[in-house]
């Protein structure tokens, strides 16, 4: 049952006037009224076309949306978002629209909790969350996300995107292979802006006493996905389409992304240690659409600077890395940091061992946990430099084969993490 005490009177009034629904779609407005209007237009269009007979509601979790005079108010298909948003065209039922207002931008965790509570009160059978920040959202995306949860009884629906081969490298080199190896399910995009879930999973997460935890507040989708994996909910992936990168300067910087995602992953390892320690290998989950698709347009990157930041990081952060890594791994890092750019390669074996030692050190709190995750940033840059150098001319198939090898390396070295995890912290005397 939803804990509705944190919902405002106004929101409760709106929800009570809606009654019960079959489907709920949550939109996080990101303080931009125009992007929110465009996303709401697509959501409404999708619901009108694909769920004609279902009772549906859209909840806009609004952190004080402001008009953006530079944005185009028209959607990509030329319709004015505002007009279409105002009334349903094909649906046999009314599409209800609810707005949850907050003073200032709500945290993603609070926004999801609001959506889950609303979904619970409205007794929605399936729910999708979409982000107006994704510029390529289309009506098909919303329908593709909702269908498996509503019609095929899946509890957690993760998205799959087509991206440039050098975008999403954190997911490709760290988040996906590590979660796959540890939690035993092959879900590629656990850290995403769009996903869907069943009422069963929604209620399960709502009743968890985790909402005050920082990783849940910052990346609730990952926590929800891992909860689904570890509690044996039915999971699947669905291909949505191309996800272009945000315009320059629009997204959070690399340090913030690593703090949120890798910090959240390490925290999830700690809170679910019984679940991942017992699992062996990994299994595929049902996938709708192609499992991977990459594009390869020319891309301008300052690789020399990336390599320089890696070398500086290994040199300057040596005292910090000494307390996190084993002597052997640190020596390996220092050895490759001494190479010249042309011969530099960050091997999978060293990368995986290093990440597992970071995870174990996070568990043992050898230094402040936030500092520990920040110390990973230059090393990640080194890995990305190496990846780009190796796959500059590679085909999608070659990259996929190499990704698979990396995943297997993570699975093979899993006992090493377990051993490090269980070992006591080395006490300095």
């Amino acid at each position: 049952m939803a804990d509705e005490t944190f919902l405002s009177d106004d929101l409760l009034r709106q929800l009570m006037s809606v009654g019960e629904v079959d489907l709920l779609v949550g939109i996080l407005s990101h303080r931009s009224a125009n992007t929110m209007r465009r996303a709401a237009h697509y959501v409404e269009k999708s619901l009108q076309q694909n769920f004609v007979r279902q009772r549906v509601a859209i909840i806009n979790v609004d952190g004080g949306a402001v008009e953006d005079s530079n944005s185009d108010e028209r959607s990509d298909d030329g319709e004015e978002g505002n007009n279409s948003y105002s009334k349903g065209l094909n649906s046999l039922r009314t599409i209800h629209r609810v707005t949850a207002g907050f003073n200032g931008a709500p945290s993603p965790g609070l926004a999801l909790r609001t959506i889950l509570s609303s979904s619970d009160l409205l007794r929605a059978k399936a729910c999708a969350v979409v982000s107006p920040a994704t510029s390529s959202t289309s009506p098909e995306w919303v329908a593709n996300l909702l269908r498996p949860a509503f019609r095929d009884s899946f509890d957690f629906v993760a998205p799959l995107y087509s991206r440039h081969k050098f975008q999403g490298l954190l997911a490709r080199n760290l988040l996906y292979p590590m979660t796959r190896a540890l939690f035993g399910r092959r879900i590629r995009e656990l850290y995403s802006d769009e996903w869907a879930f069943s009422s069963r999973l929604g209620t399960f997460c709502l009743n968890e006493d985790m909402w005050h935890e920082e990783p849940v507040r910052s990346r609730p989708e990952a926590w929800m996905g891992i909860s689904a994996l570890t509690s044996d909910f039915r999971c699947c992936q669905v291909y949505l389409g191309e996800k272009p990168p945000p315009p320059d300067g629009a997204g959070p910087d690399l340090v913030e992304v690593l703090r949120q995602t890798v910090g959240s992953l390490f925290w999830l390892l700690e809170t679910n240690q019984q679940a991942w320690m017992e699992r062996k290998g990994s299994e595929a989950v049902p996938t709708f659409g192609p499992e991977h698709a990459v594009t390869a347009e020319p891309m301008e990157l300052n690789r020399a600077r990336m390599f320089e930041l890696f070398q500086t990081g290994v040199k300057e952060l040596e005292p910090i890395l000494e307390s996190i890594l084993s002597a052997e791994t640190l020596a390996g890092l220092q050895s490759i940091a001494g190479l010249v750019q042309n011969t530099f390669r960050f091997g999978s074996e060293l990368w995986v061992a290093m990440l597992y030692e970071f995870a174990a050190s996070y568990h043992h709190s050898v230094i402040n946990r936030d500092h520990l995750v920040q110390a990973l940033v230059p090393l990640y840059r080194g890995k990305i430099y190496s990846f780009i150098a190796e796959y500059a001319d590679a085909s999608a198939a070659d990259m996929e084969a190499e990704s698979e090898n990396l995943c297997l390396e993570f699975e093979q070295q899993k006992p090493y993490l377990t051993e490090k995890w269980k070992a006591g912290v080395e006490v300095k005397s």
């Binding site: 440039h164 050098f166 975008q167 999403g168 490298l169 954190l170 997911a171 850290y191 995403s192 990168p245 945000p246 320059d248 997204g251 690399l254 340090v255 992304v257 690593l258 995602t261 891309m299 301008e300 990157l301 300052n302 600077r305 990336m306 320089e308 930041l309 500086t312 990081g313 300057e316 952060l317 910090i320 307390s323 043992h364 709190s365 050898v366 230094i367 402040n368 500092h371 920040q374 110390a375 940033v377 230059p378 990640y380 840059r381 990305i384 780009i388 006591g424 912290v425 006490v427 300095k428 005397s429």
Partner: protein, 233 residues
């Protein structure tokens, strides 16, 4: 006249011999007390260390998060810290007792004043400890932020922050002890002011280009392209 001088010298000699005869046994007693204290301190340290290891204090300290604070301050483990503390406290106590045996005029009063002074000493030590923890934490945060932002010479920033906090903690501790208040205040003002002035001059003279680039970047007129890296997610 001559007889008087001889008598005076004789008296002085007898006084000296008497004083030495009186002082020497006390000095020997003091040395013995200090040596016994050293032995007792060693024994206590080893005994306490053994007991604390048996009781797995380090594990408890780890679970309570105290070890993390100690590591942040670059201090040894809780067991080692307590063992070393008991060693120094015990030995210092014996040294003070030994010195009081000498019976030097005024020293007794100074020693009793020292014991009355102990609460301030503990507070000063606590200030120093917290200053150490804060300095290590913030200097590491500065080092990580500088390295990740690609700022040149990141250790300079890290050490500057550590240095300023140390100076602040030391001056606060001395203030607590009531030692040379004016001197400490003046020394702090001079060191801090000189550091800031030095940095300003260094930045203004040696880093004209850097200042220009920083201002350009701030005002958004930089011709140099911003460092781009692929989107991680």
């Amino acid at each position: 006249m001559r007889v008087t001088i001889m008598q005076g010298l004789e008296q002085a000699y007898y006084n000296l011999v008497h004083m030495i005869a009186e002082f020497l046994p006390r000095f020997v007693v003091m040395v013995v007390i200090i040596l016994v204290g050293l032995l007792a301190a060693y024994l206590l340290r080893h005994m306490l260390r053994a007991v604390l290891r048996l009781t797995k204090l380090d594990r408890v300290s780890e679970d309570a998060g105290a070890s993390r604070v100690l590591r942040m301050a670059d201090l040894p483990s809780m067991t080692e810290l307590l063992s070393r503390s008991i060693f120094w406290i015990t030995w210092l106590g014996f040294i003070l007792i030994g010195v009081s045996v000498l019976g030097v005029a005024g020293l007794q009063e100074q020693i009793s004043r020292l014991f009355r002074f102990l609460p301030e000493v503990f507070i000063a030590m606590l200030i120093l400890f917290l200053g150490l923890v804060l300095a290590n934490f913030l200097s590491r945060a500065a080092l990580l932020a500088s390295v990740n932002a690609g700022i040149r010479s990141p250790k300079i920033w890290s050490w500057s922050i550590r240095f300023v906090i140390w100076i602040l903690a030391i001056s606060m501790a001395l203030e607590e002890l009531g030692l040379a208040r004016q001197t400490v205040l003046a020394a702090f003002s001079i060191v801090f002011g000189a550091s800031m002035l030095g940095l300003a001059i260094a930045f203004g003279l040696g880093g004209q280009d850097l200042a220009r680039r920083a201002l350009e970047r701030y005002l958004g007129n930089s011709a140099k392209e911003k460092y781009k890296e692929p989107q991680p997610l």
